[in-house]
Symmetry: C2
Subunit: 323 residues, 2 copies
Amino acid sequence: MNFQSHNESRTPSRAGVLAAAERIGETVTRTPLLPVPEGSGRLWIKAESLQLGGAFKLRGAYNRLAQMSVEERVAGVVAFSSGNHAQGVARAALMLGMPATIVMPGDAPAVKLNATRALGAEIVRYDRHNESREQIAAAIAAERGAVLVPSFDDVDVIEGQGTAGIEIAQQLGRGPARIVIPCGGGGLAAGIAVALPEAQIIVAEPEGWDDMGRSLALGGIVEVPADAPFTSCDALQTRRVADLTFAALVEAGALGVSVSEAEVHAAMRYAFGIGLVVEPGGAVALAAWLAGRLPEIGGDTIIVCSGSNVDPSAYAAVIGGEV
Amino acid sequence: MNFQSHNESRTPSRAGVLAAAERIGETVTRTPLLPVPEGSGRLWIKAESLQLGGAFKLRGAYNRLAQMSVEERVAGVVAFSSGNHAQGVARAALMLGMPATIVMPGDAPAVKLNATRALGAEIVRYDRHNESREQIAAAIAAERGAVLVPSFDDVDVIEGQGTAGIEIAQQLGRGPARIVIPCGGGGLAAGIAVALPEAQIIVAEPEGWDDMGRSLALGGIVEVPADAPFTSCDALQTRRVADLTFAALVEAGALGVSVSEAEVHAAMRYAFGIGLVVEPGGAVALAAWLAGRLPEIGGDTIIVCSGSNVDPSAYAAVIGGEV
């Protein structure tokens, strides 16, 4: 078995992201870069919500799994995730013919549980309040000799997520001035920061769960406090970011912004109005723009909408204006 | 004033569509061609629901308005529409600095009324059951010397809509075997048929409103009967197709399929699951596939999702499973 990243001596690099883009090829969807009607021609949404599996996670998972040895492929992979990384790993494993076991919280959205199961993965559920998913996943990995695939604390995963940044520059036809990115553990933000070193990077987080933003401001990693408020952004409920993602964002000079529940819902309704289903955690960057939280800047701003996996009833309540 | 098409001696042609694509350039969004996860690699959605204004209509409207003389531009344009064509004409007029007056039914979705007004157009509402929008629009056009822009019975409009077909072939990298297209008056279907003469064209319509399909089967135009059932597909409530659109689809050997309300709702829920908001009328082609209404075929099938403009409360009811 293998608890540790196989590549812990490396840090994410632009060369690594370019190699990942080559490796991934047409396995992932080239998600659209859509002009925002109210953006005066300088504002764009990178709709990773339209990625296969409904989130960017396939990029990193495929990049990690595709580099495994034949022996590792036979033993398969284990991952823990509230849902989007679960689907990414399950789909990548299916594409590469590998067995996958996913440890998911018992209260994960049903839509994410069902989609992961439909991809052929074995699901192991745990109690998010009383059990350690890390320990459960590690035990399964040890028992089966399987590789544990982290959702963000891994160079190959980060470089895979960064391929979204390469696409942005290609689709825009020039380097963007600024990219605003939803941030849980920071894998997507770190990957894009490494891919586009000239761009200003802003990470967006839910209020109270803005640990990456506070860590960047303080110059050292701080965790989400135990009494953090409720957030509907299930995809962003990460208690502690990784040294790898934090370091990449420090190097990029990234800044953080945070948004309220009401602002997240307003962003989901705005996205609906232009034809995009976006889940709460996927809408925080859009929320930051809508709430006027982004300073004026020259050049192009890219807002990443990172996922669309939300339970229909929860979505209907937001769109129908009940919450 | 000018009731008649300025180009009535022409019929839509592939050369005209290519010229339209050149003319439109980057004014319209190059909407994504998205792989359908369950489509075994041979099924794609052309998401015109993500077009500026939430429907394909900007393509035809811009292609028509951009060819007007300076005198015509000053006098402006008039259009009648339940909503999507209204928005397309209003946005094209705004882009070209022309005044626009739109005649809309009083019971059009509020989201479509408001969006059209927000684009600077003057809205004139009428009673869909007791008044003739054609007469109202003609009277306004006569009074102001403005040009009436038909929503589908116009060569330039049809050729503009056909630019979606050019994009499909470019994005796929090869000619598709089959394209399934929502059909009201038939402008989009006729345009794509002309753009891609090698492809099999299937028009999708709501049950009871399948006048294009029946007309194609009978070899002559039949109207929607006065007692046609209720349909939520407000964008497809056209009582009679045009000679121009019918002729183009006859020439293409097009076939029709029809779908039920329940099948439309199921398609809207499926689209939600892959991150796309699709309005009822925009979902009929997807519904035909989901309902197993499309025969097996070799090669690639493209499903056009043509619009996303639906009132939030109506959408929430469908997604939440209430209807």
